[in-house]
């Protein structure tokens, strides 16, 4: 079982967290085209390698975390609070 380094709680078992998904910017609803919006809804980078994604520390501090993980190895490189500037994402990852 993976250990996720929660910035508030320290390294914790991944079962304490809920995986939310790849994080990306939310298009402006006022100007967005259907194609852009549905790309936001449905298309994933899905890389085999490092990806920035959101996890929720459900059984811990209940903070949403921006995590950098290698999907080939499940090695976690960093985890910061989504509210911090370092996260720099403007949409929940599981909006769909």
């Amino acid at each position: 079982m993976m250990l996720l380094p929660c910035p508030w709680c320290g390294p914790r078992n991944s079962t304490e967290f809920r995986y939310v998904g790849e994080a990306g910017p939310r298009p402006d609803p006022a100007t967005v085209t259907p194609e852009q919006w549905r790309r936001y809804l449905y298309v994933h980078a899905n890389p085999c390698g490092p990806v920035r994604e959101t996890w929720y520390h459900r059984a811990g501090c209940r903070r949403y975390l921006s995590v950098e993980r290698d999907t080939a190895t499940n090695d976690v490189r960093s985890a910061v609070d989504t509210a911090s500037a370092a996260a720099a994402s403007s949409a929940p990852g599981d909006a769909r």
Partner: protein
């Protein structure tokens, strides 16, 4: 590489498998011919199929057999059947929720019913029936929904109560005071299990007999696109020029489509499975519980095969987890408490290409000549034959046949998703 089957030519007759030929071999000795041959990688093919699983091989088989396209290559980065085709739990059924899903999988079950004879290779399709248990009134309602849609499509499904469930599977605890009482089940007699590797090998042998080149240990490293259309693929064994490329790589679908510049509404999740030591057969029917995220069947070897829903996070790692085995054991024992002494023997994982609507993505892409047969999630193996048939028609004519038009890539940009999501979670 040499052509080991040098005495045979394209379209040669199979060295037929039958009880009689088996006896003859046993009595006289001698060796069977290779089930498929090795070939040098040619510099050009009429079509290149990426992925040597059941989808890729079935497409090649029907392409060569039904559409006369003989210069076809199937490429696999490892050995054939090394991906999901050899890692799934080999459950077949057609009791889906949407009319388009039911029609599609019903055609697949029909093809499976005659596949052994068609391929002259016993794939051991065992139609022992398929039970999807309902533990609450919401899931019971979904079972009724599926039943009614199935019946309207001519598919044999019905909702049965605890007494009949107990008759079919005496080991199930159908008493009403359990944590997850069994209120009823969707019973689907045509469902069952099949020998998954045999399906792969049967198609490979059949495709080979029709002249298809199967290239194992051949990894695709790039796809050549020029002026919006495919011109070839780059491989670990050299380049191939071709006007038609099919991506049939399941969990790796995004990586291959990325090479052609086509982005995918796909996310790769591991799906784990496990098998126990064998015991005397006691379970004829496939048993599924969506609420408990588990499906169980017993093979002809006596092993119980377990599966669950996909892992809780996206990954290309196939290492498997302890918590999967804990969960599966706990849930199986909720259903069948007497199995506690059975021992888990082995666990493994495959990669699933999950889509937003739990339905596949089949057909053309914005890149001309580049086709996809991906997005299978946890359902790919069931659909092998019908997908092969439909994708062969698509590759040969450039136009998807009616049976797969609902599954086009453009449905996502159009916002016309397929409604299988309603019955998803665990649907094996």
């Amino acid at each position: 590489m040499t052509n080991n089957g040098s005495s045979r030519t394209n379209g040669h007759r199979l060295s037929g498998y039958s009880a009689w030929s088996l006896l003859r071999h046993g009595a006289v000795g001698g060796t069977w011919p290779r089930a498929w041959r090795e070939h040098d990688l040619e510099s050009s093919y009429d079509a290149v199929i990426i992925g040597g699983g059941v989808h890729g091989l079935a497409t090649a088989y029907y392409l060569a057999r039904d559409h006369g396209m003989r210069k076809v290559a199937v490429l696999d980065k490892a050995y054939i059947g090394s991906g999901g085709s050899g890692r799934n739990t080999a459950i077949l059924r057609s009791n889906y929720l949407t009319p388009e899903g039911v029609r599609f999988y019903d055609r697949s079950v029909k093809l499976y019913e005659h596949l052994a004879a068609d391929l002259n290779y016993n794939v051991m399709f065992s139609q022992r029936g398929h039970l999807t248990l309902a533990h609450n009134d919401a899931s019971l309602r979904t079972m009724h929904w599926r039943t009614e849609v199935n019946k309207l499509q001519g598919v044999d499904s019905e909702v049965i109560g605890p007494d009949r469930i107990k008759d079919l599977v005496p080991y199930l605890d159908t008493s009403p005071d359990t944590r997850y009482p069994i209120l009823g089940a969707l019973y689907h007699p045509p469902g069952g299990i099949v020998r998954h590797d045999a399906v792969v090998w049967g198609y490979a042998r059949g495709a080979d007999a029709h002249g298809v080149h199967i290239h194992q240990q051949t990894e695709v490293t790039g796809i050549d696109v020029s002026h919006g259309r495919v011109t070839g693929v780059q491989t670990s064994r050299g380049p191939i020029s071709t006007p038609v490329v099919l991506n049939a790589t399941a969990g790796w679908a995004t990586l291959i489509s990325d090479m052609a510049g086509v982005s995918m509404p796909v996310q790769t999740f591991p799906l784990q499975a496990a098998v126990t030591e064998p015991v005397r057969p006691f379970l004829d029917t496939v048993v599924v519980s969506g609420t408990l995220h588990v499906y169980v069947s017993q093979t002809d070897r006596g092993e119980l095969v377990f599966g669950a829903s996909v892992d809780p996070f996206a990954s290309y790692s196939m290492r498997g987890s302890l918590e999967f085995t804990e969960g599966i054991a706990g849930h199986v024992l909720e259903l069948m408490p007497a199995l506690h002494r059975m021992k888990l023997l082995r666990q493994w994982a495959g990669l699933c290409d999950m889509t937003p609507d739990y339905s596949p993505i089949m057909g053309p892409t914005p890149v001309e000549g580049f086709y996809v047969d991906v997005g299978w999630g946890t359902y790919g193996f069931k659909a092998g034959p019908v997908s092969g048939e439909a994708m062969a028609a698509t590759l040969a004519t450039g136009k998807p046949p009616e049976i797969i038009t609902a599954f086009g890539l453009d449905r996502f940009a159009d916002g016309r998703l397929v409604g299988e999501k309603g019955a998803a979670a665990v649907g094996h």
